[in-house]
Symmetry: none
DNA sequence: TTCTAACCGAGACGGTACGTCCGGTCTTCAA
DNA sequence: TTGAAGACCGGACGTACCGTCTCGGTTAGAA
């Protein structure tokens, strides 16, 4: 959501919680049907059964709305412990790829990134709502692998942040490129070969 | 260019060659200044000192124009033989990163990808003008490494296309994610660590 | 006021009397500052230090509010006996002109008339609150003139209503046209010449 | 029309003359159907079969458009020589009243006056397009009456402008008040009595 | 005194029109 | 035929109000 961080006022009619959800759902539906380019604020409001002004009271523009609408999809990603590091990697790749293949995601993710290039506030919102939410999966997978003994524990004076970022860049970037730019599916075969490459690199 | 493949007519006033270049240059300048979202056709025409109709005679719409304008930037990438596979990998990563950090590239590349999600013709144009042009660098680098003996030669009945695609996804994807999505620079340190990871994976 | 004629309920918190006056005064102030076109209900409420709902509980819409706000100004007009018919005519012209030259009157009177063209209820309210209140001045002035012998008494079987209406149309219309449409001041000179013309016509 | 006074450029596609007329006609139709308050720019454009931007290229806002649309109606008023001053007066009163009783006129005239109170440019446009156009009728009627010997010729050193203005205020104002404010028809009977009053005043 | 109905402020709600902007097409004249 | 200029249609944008509504809280008069 957009303005929830503020210390909620207590006077006046409270904002409709149903409207929030209806708008976000309508946004995702519209993205799936029309894509980013054809998506219209008025159209979203209409789908949501809500006045345009109600929508603008919550989000300042199309980009911010879409970020929040898509962010909710990323909440769904979880990584159950699949027993081995290889399985965990393949699992997260599969889930991320599945997400990117949904029409509402693919069309909007890149458009938001493009907008964010010029809009610092949007970039921050995007980072917080989507990117950071993904990175925890890498952190968690790494912790498990260390617990299982598949990876060495962190050296005492060593910050693993750089390594995590790099692995995240490689995983997320590869899936992104495969599905959205190369336009090929990240199917089981590709996933397996990618995991082999990554694990080989990590163990070297 | 867009319509050059057609069999040029002979009658009437010939098209101004200067206009072509002026339009593409103006497009890149406008992308750098304004980003994809604020770029307007009329603005580009004005910068180029050209009428809108002159522009539309050459490109069917905004996306196609931007693809061609950006594609020219990718022509600049070349990969001189740096002596070792590791140096070649670091070289191509560095060049690609430098390209993505130019404002006219970063803002437009993702926007075009987003548009291409819904527009098959645009996707094809994008593939041909940008993606394929990059992939040859991987093919070339691989050939050199084999010549040097750093990589095994292709097995007789084995098609290396899959392997090339995967490596391309990893390289391009990682740089893309690092620079545009994570918003961090792909500096020398990151590049070195990435190359180590990739080469480790390849040799495993 | 608007809803005062109804048989006041007895229970519950009574309406604030101060609010009534504050709203009407704020309306006149806003009319003077902004004119009819820029006047907003929310703005009036804010000036009056009152909530919008408090305002809507009393008046059904903008037009009705403005009619009542302006009507109070017309209550101020009185016609002291100035000794002669000519002086009385000049007196009423002067007072009416002074009223029309106040910014809150000039801007709103015509706008209300325009609205009333389409709204029968508003027209009735306007007639009662403003027009009729003016006409009595003509009636009173005529009675005085007859008493003084400046005009002949009414013939027994003759209804003077038509004559009164006509004179009212001429006086009010001429001042209105002079000040609001021609945009010229109804100064002493014009008033004198107008009175001469009217009295000439009446005595003929 | 609005921008005709400028020295017409010669490059580019010329403005559609049909659009001008279609827009003005649609405005009058909409005024008649809906009145000033409900009239919508988009609605006018739609009636005229024209894009909104085409309309805004010609008129800056609703008021200016309506002034021009109504002004054309005033062009229709002419005063054929009816033989006597009395007949001429009754004639012009009748025509003016007929104009004010048309729904597109009555609803918009006062609204424009209201707007003009705050907008000097609009006031000037209104003066030129409507008020001045009416006043010539008084000038012309007066000239005829002098030619017929019904009125004395102008004294050599005397400027008749003041007298003309006054008579214009009385005629136009009375009809206006009768029809729009009092809301009574300016029928033959009223017209006759008004003419008698005015002519009595003029000859006195 | 307590109850209670109507009030009050604040502000969100569904609507609707505004005036601006831009995309892509068409029309004119000149080169 | 191309080019420059600019009007054309269409339609989304984000803003501003309207008149209604829903909150929590207040304030008399009735019980």
């Amino acid at each position: 959501m957009c303005t929830q961080s503020e210390p909620r006022r207590r006077t006046g009619r409270p904002r409709s919680v149903r409207a929030d959800q209806a708008i976000l759902a309508a946004t995702r539906a519209a993205l799936g049907d029309l894509g980013w380019g054809r998506l219209t604020i008025a159209g979203v409001a209409s789908r949501a059964g809500v006045a345009k002004s109600t929508l603008y009271r919550r989000w300042p523009n199309k980009s911010a709305l879409v970020v929040d609408a898509v962010a909710e999809l990323f909440d769904e990603i979880e990584l159950p412990d699949l027993g081995t590091l290889r399985a965990d990697v393949e699992g997260v790749v599969g889930r991320f790829a599945a997400l990117l293949e949904r029409p509402e995601t693919s069309t909007s993710l890149m458009a938001v990134v493009a907008e964010a290039t010029r809009d610092e506030a949007l970039r921050a919102r995007f980072q917080h709502a989507i990117v950071d939410r993904q990175k925890v999966l890498v952190v968690e997978g790494r912790r498990r692998a260390q617990r299982r003994g598949e990876m060495a524990a962190d050296a005492p004076g060593h910050d693993p942040a750089q390594e995590i970022d790099l692995v995240f860049d490689v995983i997320a970037g590869a899936v992104l490129h495969r599905t959205l730019i190369a336009g090929e599916p990240a199917d089981a075969d590709w996933t397996e070969r990618f995991a082999a490459l990554l694990l080989g690199g990590l163990s070297a």
